[in-house]
């Protein structure tokens, strides 16, 4: 048998929990700080307009900026996307709510006439009114909230409600860190990001469920032992599976990230991060939180009993 993780592996995960918890808390807090201060929202959520253009001939970014400014489009920003030799640019149109459609229309017309000789191609135009942007923000948030609630209920019903908080905290942990990375790297938060986050939520829970499944099995088989021992054994036994699955998923998401093209790059950035962080969190976040809740419950029971006595 070819094994990467040996069958008799027995790390003591539980005694690392204090250390990893501190680490996780720091990273999550930093990430959240980044999300609230630095996050750049894409046109989907912010509202506004974007024009993506590509030229067959070389057009320097500065010329593009100057020409558009001369044509009267104040506040229009341009940035190159992908490699510079691709001559592909993203222009963000600045205009008031009522004029957004009109100004964008004019901007595309100007681009077409200014660069007709440079082989211009308008590849994409996105106009999102502020109302639509707000709507998308709300529904994106709702979708994530519902997913969390649904998963919490499912885990509660299938396993035990004592497992739900652990899974949810782990998901919260994963999502905040991914968003933190987005915020600090200046990657825009778009509709695709929401889709990727939901996929990550599904994936990360998947990982957590597998550990819980083992814990439950151990609890049924070895009655009377502490939960921490069950968790440690379950994590060790599923470790090989955890690494293999994360590895194969990473193969796919990383190749998509590097070779899949610009349009889905950010999507797979979130997925790749999610796979790595999700794997970490099923062991080092979900499990400790479950233990913590178990202990709190036990203490509460004890105090109740003493009162009753």
């Amino acid at each position: 048998m070819f094994e990467i993780i040996k069958a008799n592996t027995n790390f003591n995960f539980t005694n690392k929990f204090t250390l990893t918890s501190i680490l996780s808390v720091i990273v999550v807090v930093a990430s959240l700080a980044g999300v609230f201060t630095k996050m750049q929202y894409g046109v989907d959520f912010r509202g506004g307009a974007e024009i993506q253009v590509k030229f067959t001939e070389h057009v320097p970014l500065n010329d593009l900026r100057k020409d558009m400014s001369k044509a009267g489009f104040k506040g229009l920003t341009a940035q190159s996307i992908g490699e510079e030799s691709a001559n592909e640019y993203l222009l963000k149109v600045a205009a008031s709510e009522e004029k957004l459609n009109q100004v964008t229309q004019k901007a595309t017309e100007s681009l077409n006439s200014l660069y007709a000789s440079k082989g211009i191609e308008i590849r994409k135009v996105d106009i999102v009114g502020p109302k639509a942007g707000a709507q998308l923000r709300i529904s994106g948030f709702q979708a994530m909230l519902w997913a969390l609630i649904a998963i919490m209920i499912y885990i509660g019903l299938r396993f035990d409600f004592k497992y739900s908080p652990g899974a949810i905290v782990a998901l919260f942990h994963d999502v905040s860190i991914i968003l933190g990375v987005f915020a600090f790297t200046g990657t825009e938060f778009t509709l695709q990001t929401v889709a990727a986050l939901l996929a990550v939520i599904g994936y990360s829970v998947n990982d957590t469920v597998i550990v819980y499944d083992r814990v439950r099995e151990h609890e049924a088989r070895f009655i009377g032992r502490p939960l921490s021992e069950h968790i440690n054994n379950a994590v060790n036994e599923t470790l090989s599976r955890t690494f293999l699955t994360s590895g194969t998923t990473l193969f796919v998401s990383m190749t998509m990230l590097f070779f899949g093209g610009l349009a889905i790059r950010d999507f797979f950035l979130a997925i790749s991060l999610g796979v790595i962080i999700g794997t970490y969190s099923s062991i080092f976040v979900a499990a400790p939180v479950t233990l913590l809740f178990d202990r709190m419950k036990a203490e509460k029971n004890e105090t109740n009993e003493t009162v009753n006595a």
Binding site: I127, A263, F267
Partner: protein, 569 residues
């Protein structure tokens, strides 16, 4: 061999063959004319084939305001015709924009009760009286009316948009409602995006207004000159409606009371610029609106061989139309769509019975026919009393989608190849089984996309790639369980059986949680994102079937063949 094995095997073969049959036209890129029995191919989303995606919103605040105003007008006419009392519309109070109230001014206090009675008689259940004193009463719409407006606005708008798109010929448009006040329009593969946008964006608000021909044309031209001097000109790219608004604001004090200027514009086909605008002085308030119209069709006068447009009015509209035409024979009636005069035919006679004709004069038959058809379209579209706002517009050029497909397809293949190589090295023969089940997985997902007529989007391709990455998970769970059993010293037969049994609920749990996330996404999703959710969900079902059930089948077959002597895992 067990009997149940055969059933399951035949089922798998049947599903596989069906899937291959369904997927072939897509993979081989057959065209419609090929002899192959299956015609349907995977629909490519807008982001992959280019096209236009829009979300249109209905501003009900404005609709309610228009509606209450139109009721006020109806009260005016009713009072004049039925009671001989002159009442006029007053101020509109839109402090609560969702419940605008309008004043009806009544000159003598004794008529107030009369007016109230008439409102109760004719508009019972439609209007509320929200206030009154000796000189006026205030009206507002009932919730019933508002609800009906809401329900009808969306469905009617969709009808109108579809009608226009169809008549101008765009293939496979998708026009659906979203929520109470939104309409999603998707026009995949549409080439002339500007024209499509213009078509849909054209506000369908139809009004019939009498033209004031007493004021000489020279006077109208001098007014226009004045606005030009004030710097109000129409530039290319501006909205014509904005221009009209500015002109009328500027001339507020000059124009006779209750009249405004409207224009008939001629747009050059070549440059798409407004070449000519003919001014008309028309009523401020329309006599008849698109609401009153039931239908408009092009018919041909058999004797003269001339096309004409036939109008059918609704009951209410018919009565009013008869009155208006009867009182104004010889005058012109402007047909105005969204503030633009479309045509201004002469009223030749009193028109009763709710049916009218608009003749377009003789001339080149084809030319007249085209004019008639356009006019009918405008009139029909005008049956929509709602103004649509563009909330979201996304256009994708065809080459971008093409690039995206190529890159994503390449990356997916590389990713899959890596996974395949890895599992083969790691699990040997069992890895090869996993390769087969994974390939079947992709096949089934593609077949399901064709079968369900779902749309493949770029995030959808991402979903398929991700399905592969995650489907291996099921295989790994099973294989690791089998390995555990073997380590315990169980026989190969037993290890395989136990491995599959114990992995079952784990796989189900893991996939259900992902499916829950997918369902939430589907519910929230717009456009391409829905495509991702759809492929993810299809992928989950396919994964459970191929990795677990098909995988188990292969293992049983393999164990039977080697009689449990050998297990390469």
């Amino acid at each position: 061999m067990k009997r149940s094995w055969w059933y399951r095997f035949i089922f798998l073969i049947a599903v596989t063959v069906m899937s291959i049959v369904v997927v072939i036209p897509t993979v081989m890129d057959f065209n419609e004319e090929s002899n192959y029995p299956v015609k349907s191919k995977i629909n490519l989303g807008l982001d992959l084939q280019g096209g236009l995606y829009m979300i249109l919103g209905i501003d009900f605040k404005k609709v309610y305001k228009d509606e209450v105003r139109s009721y006020a007008r109806k009260i005016e006419y009713t009072m004049k015709d039925d009671a001989g009392v002159i009442v006029t519309g007053g101020e509109i109070d839109a402090t609560d924009p969702l419940d605008p109230k309008m004043e009806i001014m009544i000159s003598s206090a004794s008529d107030v009760q009369k007016t109230k009675d008439k409102i109760h008689e004719f508009f019972n259940g439609l209007l509320r009286i929200t206030g009154e004193d000796t000189s006026k009463i205030q009206i507002a719409l009932t919730n019933n009316v508002k609800r009906t407006i809401e329900e009808q606005s969306v469905t009617k708008s969709i009808e109108v948009i579809r009608n226009r798109i169809d008549e101008f010929g765009v293939t496979e448009p998708e026009i659906v409602s979203q929520g109470k006040d939104r309409i999603i329009v998707q026009l995949p593969g549409v080439k002339d995006i500007d024209r499509a946008k213009e078509l849909i964006g054209r506000t369908a608000k139809l009004e019939f207004k009498l033209v004031n021909d007493q004021i000489p044309m020279a006077q109208v031209q001098s007014w226009l000159k004045k606005t030009e001097d004030a710097g109000i000109v129409f530039n290319k790219g501006d909205r014509f409606s904005d221009y009209i608004k500015k002109v009328n604001e500027n001339l507020k004090d000059e124009l006779p009371k209750n009249y405004i200027l409207a224009f008939e514009k001629k747009v050059s086909k070549a440059t798409n610029e407004v070449e000519l605008k003919i001014p008309y002085l028309v009523d401020l308030n329309p006599r008849i609106t698109g609401d009153d119209l039931a239908d408009a069709r092009v018919l041909i006068d058999q004797q003269k061989n001339e096309p004409y447009v036939s109008l059918d009015f609704k009951k209410q509209g018919a009565d009013r139309f008869e009155k208006v035409t009867g009182e104004n024979i010889g005058r012109r009636m402007a047909i105005i769509l969204d503030g633009n005069v479309y045509s201004a035919p002469n009223i030749q006679t009193r028109i009763a019975g709710g049916r009218a004709q608009i003749t377009l004069g003789s001339g080149n038959f084809n030319q007249t026919m085209k004019e008639a058809r356009d006019l009918a379209l405008v009139l029909r579209a005008g049956a929509l009393p709602v103004q649509l706002d563009f909330l979201e517009q996304r256009t994708v050029g065809p080459s971008l989608g093409h690039d995206s497909i190529d890159k994503a397809r390449f990356a997916s293949l590389v990713g899959c190849a890596l996974v395949f190589i890895f599992i083969f090295i790691y699990y040997r023969v069992s890895g090869a089984v996993a390769m087969v089940t994974l390939s079947l997985n992709v096949l089934f997902v593609l077949a399901a996309l064709v079968g369900l007529e779902a749309t493949l989007t770029l995030p959808g391709i991402a979903g398929i790639a991700l399905t592969i990455g995650m489907a291996v998970d099921a295989n790994i769970i099973i294989y690791e369980r089998i390995r555990e059993e073997i380590r315990k010293g169980v026989t190969n037969y037993k290890a395989v059986e136990k491995g599959f049994e114990q992995a079952f609920w784990t796989i189900i749990d893991a996939n259900i949680t992902t499916a829950l996330a997918g369902l939430c996404l589907l519910n929230f999703g717009t456009g391409p994102i829905r495509g991702f959710a759809v492929t993810l969900l299809i992928g989950i079902v396919a994964t459970v079937y191929t990795s677990y059930f098909a995988g188990r089948l292969f293992f049983e077959f393999y164990m039977d063949k080697v009689e449990g002597q050998d297990l390469s895992i």
